[in-house]
Subunit: 143 residues, 2 copies
DNA sequence: GCGATATAATTAGCTTAGCTAACTAATTGT
DNA sequence: ACAATTAGTTAGCTAAGCTAATTATATCGC
């Protein structure tokens, strides 16, 4: 491997990810939910019920910030808070079915344009995207 | 192509991008610049000097918001505002060399861990990432 | 078993980042 | 030349971030 090759690939992947999300974000206005709230809801939907602390860590935000976001999601009927049976200091936060539906609709809206573009690619290119996504997911899990 | 294949790939790419950026963001604390400011600075560094309006559009933010962010970047010595010679209503905003250096350092910090992970991949996997990044950049440019 | 310490969440109060509306100044068009 | 448009800023509001302090529960050492 040439010196700097990995770095160059990292830079391109980084830049591509930034631009992709910037672009997809444009359709989020239709969801009627702010970015921090929909992001937190997404963690709840895909990561399952969790405590406030875990959710705050996942969102890289402090506990008081998440406490408020969750209170607002709850007020909108998108999430629930239930006292933990084993540790009564803690709360289990979960997405409601309404929350799941709203988030899923928003996600689909985001993916419409990208899906169309991917349909128009050559089979080889589609396969490259799929492989790369899988590799990245693995790297992200590593740490 | 099977029905839904493109959608599945879109979903995986989307998820991978979200998780990647979430992870890389952790090293940004060291930069001492808030996320909106470093993002705006990044657009200036990589996109070159531009007007307030253009910068606001790139960041998907309204003009008054960007006006304030730019004022703060300027106060920190990271950007300059120069009246446009041809249209004296407009300002050309540019990153200073200090701004470029700060942003580049932050970007390098972000890429350190990812670069190491990519170095550890098989050559074939590295190539898949590179191809995918190029394909995505192209799709992003399309719209 | 009980006091000290630690942990989970919330509340209070501040700063930063977003918005719209209103304003100033310059440009364009008729 | 003057009406309409456009670029940017200012004012003033809400949302989202933070730290410090508080409350309630768990855990630890004795």
């Amino acid at each position: 491997m040439k010196k700097g090759e990995a770095h160059q690939i990292a830079a391109r992947v980084h830049s591509a990810a930034i631009r992709l999300l910037r672009r997809l974000r444009k359709s989020d206005a239709a969801m009627g939910l702010s970015a921090p709230k929909s992001s937190a809801l997404s963690v709840l939907v895909f990561g399952g019920p969790q405590t406030l602390k875990e959710l705050a860590a996942a969102e890289q935000v402090r506990a008081p910030t998440m406490s408020r976001l969750v209170a607002e999601l709850q007020a909108d009927g998108l999430a629930t808070k239930v006292a933990d049976a084993h540790d009564r200091r803690a709360v289990r936060i979960a997405a409601t079915s309404k929350g799941k539906a709203l988030l899923e609709a928003g996600r689909e809206r985001r993916l419409v344009a990208l899906t169309k573009q991917i349909e128009a690619l050559a089979a080889q290119e589609r396969e490259a995207l799929r492989r790369a996504a899988d590799i990245l997911v693995r790297l992200n899990a590593e740490g």
